[in-house]
């Protein structure tokens, strides 16, 4: 019998982290008869930029746009699954799912993964059945709320208080005998969105490169000066429904 010196086996631990964080910021603002959904296009991991153009804002239907932020792989997969469910809905009901129903669908889909969540913050924007502009914001496990505006992602803490001030007029007292407007005109909203992203780009390393702003106009509403905006292209497919546009802009690349 031979004695072989066996080194004592040390306990070993292995770990796999299924998540990562890809930076960027998204933002949506609802108007009276329009909705604006925007996001930057930088995708990063740590200090490295993976790509300068990775869209985070996706068209779902003729009147719904979904912006996703957080873990890009989860975001893309989630959008894919939402689109699949919307297609099944079209086959079953021969019409697009209404916005509020899409919002509830997203909640259900997110909560279904309560214990292995999609690591994504979602903002859904579009036009409600009554023709009003709407924004729905979600947390990764499906808590959601309809709001007038919302910022999410890496620079949300920079942008949200600015929006509180400029959209909700927080800490501003209206002149005697007047009230603050409940909804802002489209041109004003677009300037705020652009300002928000230029500010976020200036102070946050994970924000920059490109900006995509989706604009959804309610049925029969005027362009409201949208045609004068540079970098605009129309995505509308029908000629009697909501109109959808995208504005593509450059942001600083440093």
């Amino acid at each position: 019998m031979q004695h072989v010196a066996v080194p004592h086996a040390q306990p070993q631990q292995r770990q796999f982290n299924p998540y990562s964080e890809n930076g960027g910021t998204i933002l949506a603002i609802a108007g009276a008869n329009f909705s604006v959904i925007a996001g930057d296009t930088r995708q990063s991991e740590g200090y490295s930029i993976q790509t300068r153009y990775a869209p985070k804002v996706f068209r779902l239907t003729d009147k719904a746009v979904l912006a996703t932020n957080g873990f890009a792989a989860d975001g893309n997969m989630f959008v894919k699954k939402v689109r699949q469910r919307l297609e099944w809905y079209r086959h079953a009901h021969a019409k697009d799912m209404p916005l509020r129903a899409i919002a509830r669908l997203i909640q259900t889909m997110l909560y279904a993964r309560r214990f292995f969540p999609y690591y994504v913050y979602n903002i859904l924007g579009g036009i409600e059945e009554d023709g009003s502009g709407a924004v729905y914001s979600f947390d990764p496990v499906g808590s959601y709320e309809r709001e007038a505006c919302r910022a999410a992602g890496a620079a949300s803490s920079l942008v949200q208080p600015f929006l509180d001030n400029q959209i909700y007029f927080k800490n501003q007292t209206p002149a005697p005998g007047t009230t603050h407007p409940a909804h802002l005109p489209l041109s004003h909203v677009l300037s705020l969105v652009i300002d928000s992203f230029t500010s976020a780009t200036e102070r946050h390393i994970e924000v920059g490169d490109g900006l995509e702003i989706y604009v959804v106009l309610a049925k029969g509403s005027a362009l409201q000066g949208l045609d004068a905006i540079q970098g605009l292209s129309e995505l509308t497919t029908t000629d009697d429904g909501e109109r959808m546009f995208v504005i593509r802009r450059n942001l600083k690349r440093d």
Partner: protein, 208 residues
């Protein structure tokens, strides 16, 4: 839980046209519990220099006392008032003395420095907790709401604001930033320094 977030609080300083402004919240907390709604974090150093000290409250008080002592010694030895630039370096070296066991404060300074022609030039600066100076040309922020302050200030600030417009800009920036921060708020105070006077106002805002 970071030691810098123990007591909460935020400070911001901004440059205007021939004027500067510095503002802070008034909260003193113990983690989530609010203890005082009248805790001053901004202190006059001379008639033309104000110093904001957000961070760990015990060090806020200690540093306030320490800077008062060192500025008084400077004034006696030099037989003149300290200039903002000089004071900024005094702050920096005082903090760096404690490089490996720092005071947990991030000072923010605002002042008007004398020019050779006899006028006054706006001056702002901030340092980190070990005294790394940041001489910004527009605005500086520090404290638990610093990210929010950066975001709002970057959106609202513009060059060459007159004293009253600068007051409005810094007030709106501070209030909207601290309203999104659980550790800052509970009242605000703003100082606007011009060549011939200092305007100090306490703001009426949300108290939650």
């Amino acid at each position: 839980m970071s030691i810098m977030d123990q007591n909460g609080g935020s400070v911001i300083a901004m440059v205007g046209k021939d004027c500067v402004a510095i503002a802070s919240d008034l909260r003193l907390g113990n983690q989530a519990l609010g203890v005082s709604s009248n805790f001053q974090k901004i202190f006059p150093v001379t008639d033309r220099i104000y110093l904001g000290l957000p961070g760990l409250a015990t060090d806020v008080t200690t540093l306030k006392e320490r800077f008062r002592f060192r500025v008084n010694m400077y004034t006696i030895k030099e037989e003149r008032e300290i200039e903002p630039e000089t004071f900024a370096h005094l702050v920096s070296s005082t903090l760096y003395e404690h490089r490996f066991g720092p005071y947990f404060c991030e000072p923010v300074m605002a002042g008007l420095s004398k020019t050779p022609s006899g006028g006054y030039k706006p001056f702002i600066a901030a340092t980190d907790l070990i005294g790394c100076l940041n001489f910004a040309k527009d605005f500086v922020v520090a404290g638990t709401a610093s990210e929010k302050l950066f975001g709002v200030a970057e959106g609202l600030w513009e060059p060459d604001l007159e004293p009253e417009d600068l007051f409005e800009t810094i007030s709106q920036t501070l209030m909207n930033a601290v309203d999104r921060d659980a550790y800052s708020g509970w009242g605000c105070v703003v100082h606007v320094l011009t060549k011939d006077k200092v305007i100090t106002r306490t703001l009426k805002g949300r108290m939650d």
